[in-house]
């Protein structure tokens, strides 16, 4: 079948029929009006009803007043990437009313606050007015809370019109308000009143329904930043320094929330950790480098602009061989960019982060569950390799709620790497030197401040240094040291997570990607397969690449490298790594600030296959 035929077929089988447990809801509200509580309530209730569901907050960089959208996708088959279409739209914002009305798919449903004073004048959709102000007023909520509870009106109306279980809504509210009866009762009262009003006043004119399933049994719902923080806690994080930045802030706040619960010494009640809010990102990473150097499991978390500031310390840590973990919750760059939108645009930058010859180790979690796993694993890798480890997630993972497998307790013991304490030094017959490669893997042995052995101390410097850590400008010494660092980077390949491979029978094409684009790729592959085009998918989980990556490229004549950036940064790194395979690599890169959709992936591949 030619690609052109594929495209034609694609048109005829366009978007299958949506209806029961298969549609998207978009809620248009004003930022700061408390709608996030309502949206999460719907999301969680659907999840508790056993239906695969995802939620994405498409919000502005603003505290209050700008338009914001929240999109929920339910899909019985478990395809949960963002879609560009919405069957159901809830309009709560007068400023975007016309745009929201126009965005409803034909045959869809439009719920709108009746006080917006605008006409829902489309004949091809079902339009439902909601007396939002009236119900909020009748709720008895104090006037300062009335705007917040207004948003519960659409929760109740949707529950009634889509058959969302009110008990599950109660569970969601109970979770959100941490069991506090007063706000739970107030909000649930509004939900019930709105549902009753809808039952009494609205006639169902659209085909969309929720039916309970059991597809979420055993899963949890969490965001990537919380998962990362928890993972770090199970990894034994001892020191975290940070500076507020969207979308990474909630990662550090996750540490602050859960460390006191999980990491108070049971015997002494003392903290086995310290968290410092730094004055800027220069200091945040500086503190983490100091702590890592002195033997603590140290981390910092940031996003693009903070990362730029961290570059000089990243270079120092690479060259002085200090372990630390840096979480980069990517947002859209360059520059301040789009602070509240998602991207995968920091990969090339981080790989080379530092002047001179620098190569950094990067981990790329591809699910919220992996955010947890890499949260602890990153420390083992950093301390084993004595180098910074950068973990790149993004806003989509970091700030949205995802259903995911429960977090798994670490399956390997803590690896503190090559550290010599007093007893170890005492046993050493030959002298110890900080940068001597005894084992041939490029990784030398280190000692930590506090070590009382008279031979323990050494002097760390960002300038040229010999094996015994003395200042040196000797050309051979400089050369040898850089070559050893290169060797260490080779060693890193055996410690970083291998990629995840998913094959289809008779696949001819390869897809290579990383991070949060996996759901869109999974769905696109399903659609391509339905059209007779099989694909194998390699989800890369680390740089440097492991052997599987080269093997995969070699096995496929054309490999589409799918990523959310302009320049195809993973494609760049793969091309550098495998120049002999470069002609097999095709960049399918795209960025507009929004999470990837299956359509973008599908069309990128089909349009090229058509050539």
């Amino acid at each position: 079948m030619s690609a052109l035929q594929l495209l034609e077929k694609d048109d005829t089988t366009k978007e299958s029929s949506y209806g029961v447990n298969d549609f998207s809801i978009t809620v248009a509200t004003v930022n700061g009006s408390g709608s996030q509580t309502s949206n999460l309530t719907i999301l969680r209730a659907l999840f508790k009803m056993g239906i695969p569901v995802s939620g994405k907050n498409l919000f502005p960089s603003n505290i209050q007043g700008l338009p914001t959208w929240y999109t929920i996708r339910v899909n019985k088959d478990g395809f949960l990437a963002r879609r560009e279409e919405h069957e159901i739209v809830v309009a709560m914002n007068a400023a975007t009313f016309a745009q929201d009305l126009a965005s409803v798919n034909p045959g869809g449903a439009f719920f709108y606050a009746d006080d917006l004073k605008q006409a829902a004048n489309r004949q091809d959709i079902a339009a439902y007015p909601m007396p939002v102000k009236q119900i909020a007023r009748d709720s008895g909520a104090p006037s300062n809370l009335r705007d917040y509870v207004s948003n519960m009106v659409y929760v109740g109306v949707l529950a009634q019109m889509l058959d969302i279980d009110l008990d599950k809504i109660y569970q969601a509210l109970n979770f959100h308000f941490k069991g506090k009866t007063k706000p739970i009762d107030l909000n649930f009262g509004v939900v019930q009143a709105a549902a009753q009003w809808a039952a009494d006043n609205l006639a169902k004119q659209d085909p969309f329904h929720i039916e309970p399933m059991d597809a979420t049994q055993g899963l949890i719902m969490a965001d990537g930043n919380t998962a990362a923080a928890l993972g770090a806690i199970y990894g034994g994080v001892q020191f975290a320094s940070w500076y507020p930045i969207t979308p990474a802030t909630s990662l550090a706040e996750g540490l602050l929330e859960y460390l006191p619960v999980l990491r108070k010494d049971p015997d002494t009640g003392k903290n086995t950790y310290a968290v410092v809010q730094a004055e800027d990102e220069l200091a945040a990473i500086g503190m983490a480098v100091g702590a890592g150097w002195a033997g603590l499991r140290a981390m910092t978390s940031t996003s693009g602009p903070g990362l730029s500031l961290m570059t000089e310390y990243a270079g120092l840590a690479y060259f002085t061989e200090v372990p630390l973990v840096v979480w980069d919750v990517q947002r859209v760059g360059p520059s301040t960019g789009l602070p509240t939108r998602t991207a995968q645009g920091d990969l090339s930058f981080v790989y080379f982060m530092g002047h001179g010859d620098t190569q950094q180790v990067i981990l790329l979690p591809g699910s919220v569950n992996e955010c947890f796993e890499f949260g602890w694993r990153a420390f083992d890798i950093a301390e084993r390799l004595q180098t910074p480890v950068f973990v790149l997630t993004d806003l989509d993972f970091g700030m949205n709620q995802w259903m995911t497998e429960p977090f798994q307790y670490p399956d390997t013991p803590v690896d503190r790497g090559k550290v010599l304490w007093e007893g170890d030094l005492e046993k050493m017959t030959e002298g110890w030197a900080r940068y001597r490669d005894i084992d041939g893997d490029g990784i030398a042995y280190r000692t930590l401040p506090g070590n009382q052995h008279p031979k323990a101390a050494y002097f760390t410097r960002g300038t040229g240094h010999s094996e015994d850590a003395r200042y040196s400008e000797d050309p051979q010494v400089w050369h040898d040291n850089l070559i050893r660092l290169k060797k260490k980077y080779e060693t890193a390949r055996s410690y970083v997570p291998a990629p995840v491979l998913d094959t289809q029978d008779g696949a001819s094409l390869g897809i290579i990607a990383f991070g949060s684009s996996a759901p869109a790729i999974d769905e696109a592959r399903h659609q391509l397969k339905e059209r007779g085009l099989g694909t194998d998918f390699l989800r890369v989980r680390a740089v440097p690449f492991t052997a599987e990556v080269g093997d995969f490229i070699g096995k496929h004549e054309r490999n589409y490298v799918v990523e959310l950036n302009r320049d195809g940064q993973l494609h760049q790194l793969l091309t550098l790594e495998y120049p002999e395979l470069a002609t097999r690599l095709i960049s399918a890169a795209y960025t507009d600030g929004l999470p990837l959709t299956a359509r973008l992936v599908r069309e990128a591949i089909l349009s090229n296959e058509e050539k």
């Binding site: 508790k48 949890i220 969490a222 919380t226 928890l230 806690i233 199970y234 034994g236 001892q238 320094s241 999980l262 990491r263 010494d265 002494t268 003392k270 903290n271 086995t272 950790y273 310290a274 730094a278 004055e279 220069l282 200091a283 945040a284 500086g286 503190m287 100091g290 890592g292 150097w293 002195a294 603590l296 499991r297 140290a298 000089e312 310390y313 120092l316 002085t320 602890w376 429960p406 977090f407 798994q408 670490p410 803590v414 000692t447 930590l448 401040p449 506090g450 070590n451 009382q452 052995h453 008279p454 323990a456 101390a457 002097f459 760390t460 410097r461 960002g462 300038t463 003395r470 200042y471």
Partner: protein
């Protein structure tokens, strides 16, 4: 003190830590002959020796510049980190969390602190990290060959640079405004005072800022320059005669009512301040500000302990850390128990 007798029969005096003075030495200095920084390094060695400090219990930090290089010229048996320009405070802050028994010892310069590192300087001061923070202040950039630094006085004329048009940064003043709990100014040409202040700083529970005028003999030592030896010698006005008395020693000097003041430091040691020309109370912050302002106006080099507050807790003290240093905690104390995993998953929705 006991003595060590070498195989050749030479007597080497040892301090209470069982160390000879050589145990506190560093690598040979590569700074210019006569550099104030070398003199300060000697006083650091002498102070640590006399304080019976175990070198492994002190950690050195510095940034970039001539002063920062001098870190390698003392205490070779201590861990040290010569880091980034202006970023020594953050490095030290993180490292000193690893073992709360360690004494932090930072050496910086006027470029490293008052220009590129002003932000980190102000914040480490504000946090009251337990850190001796010496600024070897000479008014010029040495390693890049003699440009004005931010502490150079307005009107200073240097051969290759012309005349400095800007007002200077006063490091002691910045420290004081930033709520430093120990602020001192000294002069490399007054080694006895430098040594006593270093000893007091090492006993202080918090950040101890020592702004030490340390002349650059190569680029800024002309007699009229405010960071020169000659100017310092002519214009130094000591606030008091200062002597440090360790905890173990009985105070032998005669205490004169109205003439002497005692300040007890965190570890029980005492700083004795003997009155010179005037009464000065270094626990009075407003008075400290006034004296710095006066020094500015009269163009004199006020030296001594300008301000001290022994009440503020140090940063590490407020973190409720365990007795065992964090960097020696075993896996069992840093990884939550397996049973907690279910509880955490239950906390998610």
């Amino acid at each position: 003190m006991t003595d060590q007798i070498t195989t050749t029969g030479t007597r080497i005096p040892l301090n209470l830590a069982g160390m000879s003075k050589a145990d506190y030495r560093g690598s040979p200095s590569t700074l210019c002959q006569g550099c104030g920084h070398n003199s300060i390094a000697s006083q650091i060695i002498a102070a640590c020796y006399e304080l019976d400090i175990v070198p492994e219990e002190l950690v050195k930090f510095s940034g970039i510049g001539c002063s920062s290089k001098s870190l390698a010229y003392f205490l070779n048996r201590s861990f040290g980190f010569n880091g980034l320009h202006g970023r020594m405070p953050s490095l030290a802050t993180g490292a000193l969390f690893a073992d709360h028994n360690l004494k932090g010892f930072g050496v910086s310069g006027d470029g490293d602190t008052a220009s590129i590192g002003m932000g980190q300087f102000k914040h480490v001061v504000r946090r009251n990290m337990r850190l001796v923070y010496i600024v070897e202040n000479n008014g010029v950039y040495g390693l890049t060959k003699g440009q004005f630094s931010a502490t150079a006085e307005q009107g200073l004329t240097l051969k290759s640079q012309g005349t400095n048009p800007y007002m200077p940064v006063d490091i002691a003043w910045e420290a004081l405004v930033g709520h430093a709990t120990f602020v001192a100014r000294s002069f490399a040409g007054d080694p006895k005072q430098v040594k006593e202040l270093i000893k007091a700083a090492l006993s202080h529970n918090g950040v101890a800022v020592l702004d030490i005028i340390s002349p650059c003999v190569t680029f800024n030592n002309q007699d009229t320059a405010m960071h020169s030896y000659a100017w310092g010698k002519d214009h130094e006005v000591a606030l008091h005669e200062l002597s440090y008395v360790p905890l173990a020693e009985e105070i032998m000097v005669e205490y004169e009512e109205g003439e002497d003041k005692e300040i007890t430091l965190h570890d029980g040691s005492v700083v004795m301040l003997h009155k010179l020309e005037r009464d000065y109370d270094p626990t009075d912050r407003a008075e400290a500000m006034r004296v710095l302002e006066e020094a500015n106006r009269c163009e004199c080099l006020i030296t001594g302990l300008i301000y001290i507050d022994t009440e503020q807790p140090a940063l590490v003290d407020i973190y409720n850390l365990p007795e065992t240093p964090l960097n020696r905690l075993p896996e069992s104390r840093i990884r939550p128990a397996r049973e907690t995993m279910q509880m955490v998953n239950d906390l998610m929705f």
